[in-house]
Symmetry: D2
Subunit: 249 residues, 4 copies
């Protein structure tokens, strides 16, 4: 099995290294990751300038682009044989609920949806660097399952892992994405020359974090696995919208 491994924290991130160590013995792993931290990159593409690939001394490939660019290069260019599976992470913070639409970690996995097996995005359930080994083990186990029992698909498995030792994991739950309330207001500040600047503020509080959500699973000590699709069609709302359109003709 050939795995393409990427992330959004950048090619030198410890979470990437931890995942590489866990996977290199069960598959042939190629690492292609951004040269800079790309948190918040979402599915952004570098369309206006060309990409450059550089191989580092540890064999990892570094790209002057986004997570999506990295996986696109790994799956759509003649750098070598196409991978059987794309894995992204380990992100140093959670990617749950609404936040996944901003996530470069999830985006990297999404870009790997064409290769046959379900791409895997993996994130720590809490910000920190202490339990990468737990998440690495969780992913290695998932991949062994895929090797044993392939799961043909074009979706992504979005995995969030409790911030505990592997032995303290309570189990695995299949979840849906929760929802957040809107974010806090931006932080208004000024630079040293007195010119106004804005920074993103804190994320909003959780609005839907009840049973079945990724928020709940991780909070209770379970690995959360949410299957994600790129088809954002709001099927539940179709009828309502159709009625509205008819009414206002």
């Amino acid at each position: 099995m050939r795995i393409l491994l990427s992330n959004d924290d950048g090619v030198r991130a410890p979470g990437l290294a931890a995942l590489y160590r866990a996977l290199k013995d069960i598959a042939e792993v190629t690492v292609i990751a951004p040269d800079r931290n790309c948190s918040g990159a979402s599915n952004s593409l570098t369309l206006h300038s060309p990409l450059r690939v550089e191989q580092l001394e540890n064999g990892f490939f570094s790209v002057n682009g986004t997570p999506t660019d990295c996986v696109h290069i790994g799956t759509n260019s003649p750098l070598g044989e196409a991978p059987d599976l794309v894995v992204s992470g380990i992100n140093d913070a959670p990617n749950m609920g609404d936040d996944v639409i901003y996530s470069g970690t999830v985006a990297a996995a999404t870009e790997g949806r064409f290769v046959g097996l379900p791409a895997i995005a993996v994130s720590m359930g809490q910000h920190g660097h202490d339990y990468y080994e737990t998440a690495a083990q969780v992913v290695a186990d998932l991949i062994k399952k895929l090797q044993q029992e392939p799961l043909q698909s074009d979706f992504v498995l979005n995995v969030n892992v409790p911030y505990v030792a592997f032995k303290d994991i309570k189990g695995t739950k299949l979840t849906r994405l929760g929802r957040r309330h809107r974010a806090e207001n931006m932080v208004r500040d000024s630079d040293p020359w007195g010119r106004e600047i804005f920074w993103y503020g804190l994320v909003g509080p959780q609005r839907d974090d009840g049973p079945g959500t990724d928020f709940a699973a991780v909070r209770e000590g379970y690995v959360s696995i949410t299957p994600l699709t790129v088809d954002m069609t709001a099927r539940d709302d179709e009828e309502r919208v159709q009625k509205w359109l008819d009414k206002t003709k």
Copy 2:
């Protein structure tokens, strides 16, 4: 009604100006848009450096960031009263099928999902600058409907408009997103110093463009309206994934 208008082609794009002209008489419109073309920006956020807002001579606000940044500033900062509705576009090319996950136009609308009314993203069904008036008229009509009959929601209406005169539009269809095959391989080239560079290649051919899809509606001359959700949970696949998880325990 207060409208926040943004786009991803940048604050000086003709599609933005055309939409502004069509909306300014039916609502109070504030324009906040990126200072550069951000095609392919997806939902990316500028987290590592602060944002700066500058008001241009025509009254539009220009931001050194992404479409998502622009709408976030317009809805989560004290620049003024919160909008009742967020509108994004007119994009100078289609945003249909899988491509919406990369779209800055759709992302700007998505970021406006918290304001109460369904955010609207609007794109030309074909690349070009000749029929912005058509799309502007379509959006103005949708907004008049919303003014007459509010549609409480947190989804996005993704609108793609045929590249024809307004009178030649055949009607409106509620659609789902189509699907594409994977993209062409990247274009491998070298810069003037002989160093290898990669550019994105062409998008893949349409894989699912049959009845009900956005591709089909626009091809047949209809305005396509697809309600989009940020909840990417792949509900149709949950059972299959649960079975797979159980089987491989």
Copy 3:
């Protein structure tokens, strides 16, 4: 006479527009300027990605690059006939003393050193937007002199104009660059997530601002003109260095 006009405050800066208005009647003026504010760009070149040129509605050309890139495009590419003279400004703040090595305004002029006539960089002697007309008039007068009496050269005339009305200018002084003490320490701060960031602090106090310097001329109400060369060889120090090299053999 064909003039290539650029700046570092960006294509939409009011100082550029003021200078354009003053020059368009005495020469054929092409404006090529950066799409963003490039203060502090020095002579930096965009080598790793390609440049794109876009003509705005007012006829100015906008480039996604640095001041040096803009002038290089205007003098080394087939956009049209080569200019007879390169002018850069009006910068919204002074470019005097050591600071000229960081200046994008001066760099744009420097890049025009090959066209035959001395390139002109012009800056307001004090930060502000109220007296661009003064500086524009000063430059127009200099160019009329050049038209009347050409000055063959490959140097740059670095012009700093007192922040007063044209009638209050006391005259013109040929000056040398003054010197500053080292800058204030950087400003240490943290972003909203508590991560350490650094901003440039204030410039250092003037160390050599006595008679003959640009600092002194502007302070006393004169236009300062300093001829600048790209030959940074420290001729005054050659002997000392040679002695040192000999001594330590």
Copy 4:
């Protein structure tokens, strides 16, 4: 002796590592270098966004900025005790003649001009990675001389080293900067979507490369040392400009 070491090829460049190895035994060396290749950065400053410093596993500090930013941080911020000497390089290509005004390597040294000892910029006389040891030895020897016989100054020693083994160096010459003719035209190309792009072309041929120049010294197998000043005042031209100003009054 405390040395601040930087470069413009980026913190992972082999020339930087080679120089570090040669200096760490004769001084206390702190490395602060850009996270990306900054060739052509000149003296550019990052004024519009804040800088971030990250320490890599090898102890080097990586900065999301320019060579000038790196040295400014190392000399003007409380990261530790101020250095006694700033060294920049080894650049993987020459920095001679007019080209020094574009050089990030020279700029890094220039930013170190306030610390008391003459800052040193060092470059390979020819593009390539085979003879960094030669240049590293040349710099180590210069620093030993400075330790033995300090040379109080605020200029930069710009060192270019022939691309040969250390034993094949013919000696050292104190030189002046040569001059080039203007560069080749830009390369006009198009991206995969058919949109026009421009790349920098080749540098111009040498115009003044006779006896006494840096070009000549390196060509003949000597280490070239050119003292550089930040005072760009064109003293040789002052009289001519004064006459011209008087004539055209």
